[in-house]
Amino acid sequence: MRIAVFVTCWGDALFPATGRAVVRLLEHLGHEVVFEPAQTCCGHMHWTAGYHPEAIALARRLTEVFAGHDVIVTPSASCAATVRTAYPRMDPALAGLPVYELSELLVDVLGVTDVGARYPHRVTYQPTCHSLRALGLGDRPLRLLRAVRDLELADLPEAGECCGFGGAFAVKNADTSVAMVADKIARIHETGADVVCATDDSCLTHLGGALSRLRSGVRAVHLAEILASGLGAAGPAPVPGGVARRADAP
């Protein structure tokens, strides 16, 4: 299948390893991955911050850039949710862009749960708010994680509660945001996991940033990277570093 990847602006700049993992994973599964170089931002940040005309312009732009693609994948639940739920509110003409979050693409469209990955870590999964509520991903990410070899999955208590990121919220209400992430990290530590996994680099920036500040041994890792680990086909498995999210090799 020919699959267009939308890496998101955040991922492009700060977490290119996530996008690379998506490419490696899908190519390993035998699909053709294309990258539209004109892609920038879906408008999520402007929309939720109240800059609506700006957001709508970005949404129109993204819709044009991906016109003609039947299957678009993004490793961000919040960007997928923006396209699916906010675009039709911005303009009914923007409804219907076929963007899938990675676990949706794998489980629903490609019909795979065992991608062949190997990841020897104790992992706990944080269902981000957009993946849980806006997209209704349900247990898709968990099914994918359960199929990973050598991965020990630990249940996260109070998993459904928000980590406190919320985009502008993390800065405008920094104290409340930090109080929330402190509680989330306490729950993560209770699991004894050495990796916390999610489907969104934005929430992972927040979790990883707080874990890094606390010098916690727990690392925040995107689902895509775990699923692309140990595939063997395209080079060595990525080794997540201990820094903030990870030190990305140049």
């Binding site: 930090v178 109080a179 920036t205 890094s212 990870r246």
Partner: protein, 382 residues
């Protein structure tokens, strides 16, 4: 005061925070039991949302029906534009010589009434209404009947949106309020009275809310408090930072609509949420609070657009939007900002950012942007 400033002292009280968390967790557990195994809960929510929506769209008609029904049964209806007018009317209705008892509700709090609980010796009482049934003129309170049954003066106070069209609608709304809010199949006590009471109908900003097609659904609220019980922000801050109006997620959408989005409280409340969506998930009348918050954020920003000197955030957001409008501008910005950010980094992490983002690095690191963006990697790979 801004929400974030008002929240700071509340966050600094860890014992209170733990208490609120525990209470909220218990409330969530009760609620999950009360709706989890109940057949047709979603259908009941659909009906409740439609009943409330219909009420709002036909509010003028239902209010007039209510007025006629109350007066037909020997009662009297008074209209109050604001809290002060409501207090004046209530004062004029109560006898001078005996103290009036009070059955509190969100509306009686809103207009600032206080008084003792009613007892067998009460001669006059003011009760905050739960619902008013237009068709029959019936007053419904989700409390014991103490305030409703004595041979004295009874004054009921209600927001204009507390009307429900028909008696049958109660079969939906009473179940929704009880299960979603208190987490029980039915509230411990519900009392009704038809006829022989004075009713004060309060506007106090509600018609302003009603006039905003993207905001009016907030008036569907049936005051169950489920949204506060599940709100991660409310659990940390408690009710106080939400100001003098209602607290929790519904307060964050109502107060800015009623008081405007210019003053610090009204301008900050729409941002007092991570948009996590937990409130919309539980709201028994399906108010899409996160969508409404986003709408109000737009109003806050629009109100600032005309300023002669744009605030720094606006410059940043407009600049970003301009950059992202074109892939060359975007990549140029990306490369430049990443280089700048790497200068601030040590050991791959940024521990202090200047300006707007300083709030981020007060408690969280940021990873240094890698030298190679995804698109640079993709180009090199081909």
């Amino acid at each position: 005061m801004r929400f974030s400033d008002a929240a700071r002292p509340e966050l600094g009280d860890p014992a209170a925070r733990r208490g609120r968390r525990r209470a909220a967790a218990e409330a969530r557990g009760r609620r999950a039991d009360a709706v989890g195994g109940f057949p047709g809960w979603e259908a009941l929510r659909e009906a409740g949302a439609a009943i409330r929506e219909r009420t709002l769209r036909e509010l003028g008609t239902h209010l007039e029906t209510l007025e006629a029904a109350v007066e037909e049964e020997g009662g009297h209806v008074h209209w109050a534009r604001d809290a002060a007018e409501a207090r004046r009317i209530i004062d004029s209705l109560l006898p001078d010589d005996v103290p009036a008892a009070l059955v509190r509700s969100d509306v009686t709090d809103e207009i600032g009434l206080d008084g003792a609980e009613p007892g067998p010796h009460s001669k006059a009482a003011v009760v905050g209404a739960g619902f008013l049934v237009a068709e029959t003129g019936t007053l419904v309170v989700a409390e014991r009947g103490d305030g409703l049954s004595f041979p004295g003066t009874l004054v009921a106070v209600a927001g204009i949106e507390d009307v429900v069209p028909g008696w049958t609608d109660l079969e939906v709304l009473l179940q929704l309020v009880s299960r979603a809010g208190a987490g029980v199949p039915m509230r411990p006590a519900i009392s009704t009275r038809t006829g022989d009471f004075a009713l004060v109908l309060l506007d106090n900003g509600r018609t302003t809310v009603l006039a905003d097609p993207d905001g009016r659904a907030a008036l569907r609220c049936v005051h169950c408090s489920a949204c506060s019980d599940v709100c991660p922000v409310f659990q940390r801050t408690g009710p106080r930072p939400y100001g003098p109006g209602r607290a929790g997620p519904i307060g964050a959408v109502l107060t800015p609509q009623v008081r405007g989005v210019e003053a610090p409280l009204g301008a900050s409340l729409p941002f007092a949420s991570t948009l996590c969506g937990a409130c919309a998930d539980v709201c028994p009348v399906k108010i899409d609070i996160p969508a409404m918050l986003v709408h109000l954020r737009g109003r806050v920003v629009d109100a600032r657009r005309g300023r002669p000197v744009p605030p720094p955030e606006m410059l940043l957001m407009r600049g970003l939007a301009w950059s992202m409008g074109d892939e060359r501008r975007y990549e140029h910005t990306l490369v430049r900002r990443a280089r700048w950010a790497r200068l601030l980094a040590r050991d791959g992490r940024i521990r202090r950012l200047p300006g707007l983002f300083g709030k981020w690095t007060d408690a969280r690191d940021l990873p240094a942007p890698p030298r190679q963006s995804f698109r640079a990697w993709w180009r090199r790979r081909r």
